[in-house]
Subunit: 409 residues, 2 copies
Amino acid sequence: MPVNLSAPVASDLLSVAGVRIGVTEAGVRKVDRKDLTVFLLDEGASVAGVFTQNRFCAAPVQVSREHLAAGQGIRAMVINTGNANAGTGAQGLENARATCAALAAQLDVAPAQILPFSTGVIMEQLPVERITAALPAALADAQAAHWGRAAEGIMTTDTLPKAYSRQVEIGGKTITITGISKGAGMIRPNMATMLGFLATDAAIDPALVQPLVKALADGSFNRVTIDGDTSTNDSFVLVATHQAGNTAITSLESAEGQALQAALLDVAQKLAQAIVRDGEGATKFITVRVEGGKTGAECRQVAYAIAHSPLVKTAFYASDPNLGRILAAVGYAGIDDLDQTGIDLYLDDVHVAIKGGRNPAYQEEDGQRVMKQQEITVRVLLGRGEAQDTVWTCDFSHEYVTINADYRS
Amino acid sequence: MPVNLSAPVASDLLSVAGVRIGVTEAGVRKVDRKDLTVFLLDEGASVAGVFTQNRFCAAPVQVSREHLAAGQGIRAMVINTGNANAGTGAQGLENARATCAALAAQLDVAPAQILPFSTGVIMEQLPVERITAALPAALADAQAAHWGRAAEGIMTTDTLPKAYSRQVEIGGKTITITGISKGAGMIRPNMATMLGFLATDAAIDPALVQPLVKALADGSFNRVTIDGDTSTNDSFVLVATHQAGNTAITSLESAEGQALQAALLDVAQKLAQAIVRDGEGATKFITVRVEGGKTGAECRQVAYAIAHSPLVKTAFYASDPNLGRILAAVGYAGIDDLDQTGIDLYLDDVHVAIKGGRNPAYQEEDGQRVMKQQEITVRVLLGRGEAQDTVWTCDFSHEYVTINADYRS
């Protein structure tokens, strides 16, 4: 059951001028399932992406990187579920290119103007004929209002679609931002979530779109983890259609640039957190905040050690304040010169450990009270500097094992 | 249920001249349970150890390190279960020292000649009075033949005691090696705390004992993982009593040194593997062998990424040959310049992936056949060098979650 997450209301999702979306059933792996989504972008849109750092990156990730680098202007994105087209060798690359070529022919653009994305099982060849056969139906479905359908179209083991919209005033103009994402397992994004798409109609110097998508990923998708498994297919894409009528933003440091970035980050964080809330088997949403480090990187390293510990995650599942497990994870996070006598631990407002030992004032019932909540903040004070960082994760339940032991059966 | 592991037969366990062991019930956490073990060493024994790299190391680990460094000659080791004396601050250190002082007084040796070890729950103070009160009973129990009782005395959540003996001829003399270990089990799991104690009567230059224990740990206990959580209390100790009558070994590179090291490593590996076979919820024993790396370290890094992946471990549990998950783990193991097109994957003798893609000759039923076995070897060929390394692990089952979620409830 997802943690404090509900399906988006279609009418709450705002269209982004210059973006239309069509969704259909291609029967990639299963029938009667929306598994093919096409984004159509007006000419002039700027597109940038960040992709998995997994060295076993999927064929569509390799092709998307190539096509973005080609710089011919992206006019469409095609996303299939049911098959990740990863671990598929030269044939996999050929299949990803064939999908782009088929869509390009129908749109009368170049194949390098198409970005392909795939998600699903690994090490099986993509059924490229079924995908290309379904493209006309996807195109016929294309509408600006189809963000809700797109959120459904990219789901795999997600229990709910994930989509958010918001608006922000910049230079007297209303800027719209809408995004979608999917999880729900093999989630420890490194550069991006398994799939995230964010679009805005803001006018902005196209050269700023790539640094912007990187900053957004670092502040959102790169801060969530479910099981520590970095996927082969992680992709996070930002589209700017420049159609809102605002004076084009020329610097991310300007007031307008900061306002846009903050609004985009808000949506990106909600999308990233939604993946955790709908994490496989999740029953709790955990914020791990590490403060007082020498660098943000070491805070993040400690936060991930806690967020990846199966012992910590099962304790959260059980609502058991077995909090020594958190101290142990801090200890093995890999900070060689860490002094345990400088460390404090809080669970929400409960001061559990002080200077590396149990706080004499700590009462187990206080820990128990917090552990029973659906949303919990773990706060670790390293006591060795001024840096801090935050990671979001979920607990580890029987349901996770069931889902992943039964995935293909 | 442990995987291909049975309790040692007491009569198979060989005494090591110069070592006597006493075991008793101190009621550390529960009554009617052997929870206090004392090793008595004849004067002249050489003792060396390797300890957890967790920065939150337990008080007894800190005290053991100090006492070994003091170099006064170790005469006894005292081990309690039920309480790890970790995350206990200054009081914890005081309690570990008090335990040593009490035993030292009864043996008429210095406190620095005692090594303390603890395993059990974290962040609770050690009941030092109950331990010191039980020391006379432990001493009264001391016999050379009590290795089987010692293996029972250090168990926590282990389902079976773990002990092995073997002999080796060196320079015409019979050298005896006996060791015990503990891991994690079912009743009150806490950290997967490992303790290993290995003794031999071989005569050997005392200066060689520390490099020897380090090499043994690297080849055995440092090659196993159950859940990736490094304990606060991990300790592995080697005792050499020098009483076998062999000409003292003066080099680990000599024929005699190599023969001793090989025999010790054999026992250490069996003890380490026994911990995995009895891992919490384990139903499969998995050997992960990575070959063709540039360095042993990178092979080990890849092997651990596979061995720690919850997705890989749940697939083994389900006997599901969802082997793309293994490729994904190889890809995110952190080798920046890894070329996926050089990688082959075998499951026992089944050639699953070739040059980064699915082997066209691979049949899923072959993968299925191997996955159903209780013992499976994953073999990854990186195709970039001559180095190799091996890690042993187990699968990830519902039972693991049950064990760790039900702790203390």
